[in-house]
């Protein structure tokens, strides 16, 4: 972050600031509206009234990468879609995270052939992998909560320069 490039490690001051920043991030992390295949339908059910991902701060699914902090890769990534996905990841503002939802995004899943990229971590750095084909909405929400744990532990000093 900008502040730690300036402040560095100032003990109590930065730790409370870290907690404040982590609190603000985990309570309003907007995912990018970006569904590829079957997992997108389960992501829609997770966003809808019954499972309601908005309880965890994911109120809105922002269509454009400019206003989203989290990219949920929901579905199989094909060879033709891979450069587009990388372009969208590059166009997201800086504190950004990636959840690879479902087996097809995590490791190619059922499709081990010429058309599918075997795991989206060959294209974008992934923070949390959610298993399942498609993962139940609760599994996706569990993945989101694990991501929140990871965000909470982020220290200023070790941020990517």
């Amino acid at each position: 972050m900008g502040v730690e490039q300036k402040l560095g490690n100032m003990g109590a001051v930065t730790t409370t600031l870290e907690q404040a920043v982590a609190w603000s991030r985990t309570n309003a992390m907007w995912p990018m509206l970006f569904g590829l295949a079957c997992c997108a339908i389960e992501m829609m059910s997770a966003q809808a009234a019954h499972y309601d991902m908005s309880r965890f701060g994911m109120e809105l699914m922002r269509p454009s990468p400019r206003q989203s902090d989290l990219m949920i890769v929901a579905g199989r990534v094909t060879r033709k879609m891979a450069p587009v996905l990388r372009r969208l990841y590059d166009q997201m503002p800086e504190p950004k995270w990636v959840i690879s939802m479902g087996d097809c995004a995590s490791c190619g899943g059922v499709f081990n052939n010429y058309a599918v990229v075997q795991g989206v971590d060959e294209i974008v750095p992934v923070d949390v992998y959610v298993a399942g084909c498609p993962p139940r909405p609760e599994a996706l929400i569990h993945g989101v909560l694990t991501l929140y744990e990871k965000v909470k532990l982020m220290k200023f000093s070790e941020v990517k320069k």
Binding site: M32, L33, F34, G35, L36, A37, C38, A40, I41, E42, M44, S45, A48, A49, H50, P63, G75, R76, T78, K80, M81, A82, P83, V84, R86, R87, L88, V110, F111, N112, N113, Y114, A115, V116, E122, I123, C133, P134, R136
Partner: protein, 409 residues
């Protein structure tokens, strides 16, 4: 990882009009990541202000090579691939594939299994129409419809989970019948839906059908005549909304559909509003079919006892030697289908879903081609999109009801 190809105007010269080349009209990508393309569809729009002069669809962003992958799997294992094709109609895909395999190996299916198949496929049709209603109403800014429709869909997915343990990718329909019989609570759960769903449908109709906002956005927009539909190979609700009554459940019945009486809703205007009315009426007809199928649900086995193709039940394996041999052979090597080619089609919520299955006598399908309805329905989009406002184009895409897994296979 290759970068995105630079597309310049001159290699689209044969597609776009003269004005685009001089730079008068704008070439805009309604690209793979767009909230209202219902998946990773890319439309290259040639815009003159808000008017769409030309619309060039570019598909293939979800091409998973399912047909090639199915050639490397045995007949039973290949069925797992079929769920991922049209992921809103997974039980319907299983049925299409299973009917093709049964036609190829000439396998009989017990009556109870056929009735349960009809119930599940009709419930899946309602669930698929609900996702269509929810998302296309969301595109027309009716936010609450999305939440209502997905609330109903949960009750239907619970039934699939009841039978097969999986909400969407059930693989519950197997060649020769079903994976196993339905649990005891199945009838009560389906009765609950039959009781509550019609009232919910009236809520949706009250919200949308005579809503002036909806009428302004959908009435006489994206018109298609019957002949244009047929020349584009459009089937399903879009064809029936243009006045041609062609429903495979009625005209070429399969899996016992001729026992149930239901009528096929058709309209003549052929615009977005007519497709909306046809799909809403289809949901009610599906309820009628489920009602009749559930009332006359026959008692009996759910799997054919031709153990050359159907794995024998666990109880018999310990007892008889042949059952053990069949069990072992089927699960290791699969059954050898006779040489030949078969085409069998079912009525999916989007149209005629056909499977061309060819076998060379081995345990693996030699060639599986999926005739998917969205592939042809999407071809009529450029015709409907000419001279239309961009906002209307979004309503038209919603009414075509495409699923990109269906289009790209």
């Amino acid at each position: 990882m290759p970068d995105i190809q630079e597309i310049t105007i001159d290699d689209l010269k044969h597609l776009v009009s003269e004005r685009a080349i001089q730079g008068e009209t704008v070439l805009l990508n309604m690209g793979p990541q767009h909230p209202s393309t219902h998946g990773v569809l890319r439309l290259l729009l040639e815009l003159d202000g808000e008017i769409v002069v030309n619309c060039i669809p570019d598909i293939g962003f979800l091409h998973t090579g399912i047909e090639k992958n199915m050639e490397a799997k045995t007949y039973q294992k290949a069925e797992v691939m079929t769920d991922r094709l049209d992921y809103l109609n997974t039980v319907g895909n299983n049925l299409a594939y299973t009917l093709a395999v049964e036609k190829l190996v000439d396998l009989d299916v017990p009556v109870r299994a056929q009735a349960i198949r009809v119930i599940l496929v009709e419930l899946q049709r309602i669930a698929s129409h609900l996702v269509w209603l929810g998302t296309s109403a969301l595109d027309l800014a009716a936010m609450s419809m999305f939440l209502y429709c997905f609330r109903e869909r949960e009750s239907i997915l619970d039934i699939f989970e009841l039978c097969s343990g999986q909400r969407m990718m059930t693989t519950y329909i197997r060649p020769g019948g079903l994976w196993r019989d339905v649990p005891v609570e199945f009838e009560k759960a389906v009765r609950h839906i039959l009781k509550t769903f019609p009232r919910r449908m009236d809520e949706y109709e009250a919200l949308l059908t005579r809503n002036p906002l909806m009428l302004d956005r959908t009435y006489s927009i994206g018109k298609l005549t019957g002949e244009e539909c047929l020349s584009f190979g459009v089937t399903g609700p879009m064809l029936r909304a243009s006045g041609i009554q062609w429903d495979l459940r009625k005209d070429r019945p399969y899996s016992g559909y001729d026992q149930y009486d239901f009528d096929v809703p058709t309209r003549t205007e052929g615009d977005v509003y007519a497709r909306y009315l046809v799909r809403i009426e289809e949901m009610r007809q599906s309820l009628r079919i489920v009602q009749q199928a559930l009332d006359k649900l026959p008692i009996g086995p759910v799997r054919s006892n031709n153990f050359k193709f159907v794995p024998p039940p666990r109880s018999e394996i310990g007892v008889s030697m042949e059952a053990l041999i069949h069990h072992f052979k089927l699960w290791t090597e699969g059954f050898n289908a006779p040489q030949g080619a078969v085409y069998s089609a079912v009525e999916s919520p989007r149209g005629e879903l056909g499977v061309y299955l060819e076998s060379d006598g081995g345990p693996k399908p030699y060639r599986v081609h999926w005739r998917t309805p969205s592939f042809d329905n999407l071809q009529s989009l450029p015709l409907m999109a000419k001279g239309v406002l961009v906002a209307d184009l979004i309503a038209i895409i919603g009414s075509v009801d495409i699923v990109l897994g269906d289009v790209d296979r």
